[in-house]
Amino acid sequence: MNLGLVIPVFAGATTATVLLGLISKWIDRKVTAWIQWRKGPPWYQPLADIIKLLGKETIVPHAAGGTGFLLMPLVGFATVSVAATILWWSNLNPESGFIGDVIVVLYLLTIPAITIILGGSASGNPLAAVGAAREMKLLLAYELPMLLVILAAIFGATTTDSSTGLAASFQLGTIKTAHTVGFAASLGCVIGFLISLMCIQAKLGLVPFDMVEAECEIATGPFIEYSGAPLAIIHLTRVMLLAVMPLFIITIFWGGFSFNSFGMILASLGKYVLVLVVLILVRNTNPRIRIDHALRFFWYILTPLAIVALTLSMAKGF
C-alpha cells in the first residue's frame, strides 16, 4: 500500500464505520423499544444526539486534570479509527495485510478501555473513580478468554504443510480466508465464536456487563463529568466500537465481509445483523451483574472453555 492511498482509505474506513455504527445504534435502540412494547426513536436519533452534544458547552471541573481529561476521548476515537481501517482493508484485500496485524488490532481495541480508565480518573469525581476501577477489573476479566479464543482461531487457520504457516496465520487476511479443516478444529472455532460474543458484550459495555457505567447506581461512572464535545466524541467512539467489534469477530471466526457479488453483500450484512441482534437480545433480557460475578464468569467459566477450544483447534495440527 503506497502512502498516497493511506489518507483516502483511512477517511473512507472511518466514515463507513461511523455510518454503520450510527445505524447499528439506532437498530439497538429500536429493537430495545420493541422488546419493551414501545415505539422507539426515529432513524436519525444517534446522529442528532452527537450533533447536539457537539453544540453544547464543554465544562472542565475544578478537580479535573484538564489535559488528560480532554485528551483521552480523542485518543480513544483515534485508536478505534485505526483499528477500523486495518479491519476494513484486510477484509477487502485479504492478501494485502502484514504479519501480526491481528495483534495490532487487538492492542488498538484495548486502548479505548484504557482511555476510559484514564479519562475517568482524571475527572476527579469519586463515582468516576469507582467506574474506572470496575473498568480495569472488567478489562482483566474479559481479555484472558478473548485472547485464548483468538489464538484458537489462529491455530485453526494454520496450514500443516508449510513451515511458515503459523507466522502467516497471525494475519487477519489469512484467518479470514482460511477454511478450518477437521471436526475438532471447527468445533474449537465455534466454541471460540460463542465465547468471543460474550467478551465483546463486555467490551462494548452492554447490559449484563455495564457495571462500569451503571446509570442508576454510579450515574454513568467514568463519563459522569464529561459534557459537550468530549462527550460527543465518547459517544462517537462507542458507536464505532458497536460496528468494529462484531466486524472483528466475524473476520476472525466467520469468514469476514466481502463485497464481490450481490450474494456476498447479502451474506456479509446477514452475519453482521445476526451478531448485532444477539448482542441486543442478550442486553435486553439480562440484569446487570456485579463486578465480582463478571470476573468469576469470565475466569472460571469462559477461560476453561476457551482452553478447551484452543486445545481442540491445536489438535488438528498434530
Binding site: R29, A33, Q36, W37, R38, K39, G40, P41, P42, Y44, Q45, L47, A48, D49, I51, K52, G55, K56, E57, T58, I59, E213, E215, C216, A219, T220, F223, I224, E225, Y226, S227, G228, L231
Partner: protein, 145 residues
C-alpha cells in the same frame, strides 16, 4: 432553524431532581418513559448525570435543605439548557407554601444564580404526562436560535 438547534430539539436529555416532592409528580415523570407515552419517540432520555442533561426536571417545593443543591445542579449543567417546574409545588409552592421548610419556589431559586434561565411551568397536582411533554417542547422553543 440551524442544524444545532434542530439537533437540540430532537435530542433532549432530562435530569430529574426531586427537591421535596410528595412523589406523585415523580411517578408522572416516570410515566412519560413507559410504553404508553414513550418520550424516547421524541429523542428524550433520562440522563444519569446533570452534565449530560439539556433539561432539568424539578419536582417539589424546594425545601431549605434542597435549595443550595438545586442551584449547584443548575450550575453543573452544560448550557444551553432549560428548567421544567413540574407540578403545582414546583411552580408556586402549592399547598405547602406557608410551611416552615419552604424556601422556593423553584423559579426564584434558579433565577438567583442565572437571571436569564429558561423556565417552563407545568401546573397540576400531579400534571398529566401529556402536559409534561408539551411543557418540555415549549421550553425548547424559547431557546434563542
Amino acid at each position: 432553524m440551524g442544524l444545532k438547534t434542530w439537533a437540540l430539539k430532537k435530542s433532549i436529555w432530562l435530569y430529574h431532581a426531586n427537591v421535596g416532592a410528595c412523589n406523585n409528580c415523580d411517578i408522572e415523570v416516570v410515566d412519560c418513559l413507559t410504553p404508553r407515552y414513550d418520550i424516547e419517540r421524541f429523542g428524550m432520555l433520562l440522563a444519569g448525570s446533570p452534565r449530560h442533561a439539556d433539561a432539568l426536571v424539578v419536582t417539589g417545593i424546594c425545601t431549605c435543605q434542597a435549595r443550595p443543591r438545586l442551584q449547584e445542579l443548575y450550575l453543573q449543567m452544560a448550557k444551553p439548557c432549560v428548567v421544567l417546574c413540574i407540578g403545582a409545588c414546583a411552580c408556586t409552592g402549592g399547598i405547602f407554601r406557608p410551611c416552615y421548610h419552604f424556601d422556593g419556589p423553584v423559579d426564584k431559586v434558579i433565577r438567583e444564580v442565572d437571571p436569564d434561565a429558561i423556565i417552563a411551568y407545568v401546573p397540576g397536582c400531579p400534571p398529566k404526562p401529556e402536559a409534561i411533554i408539551s411543557g418540555a417542547l415549549k421550553a425548547l422553543d424559547a431557546i434563542p436560535c
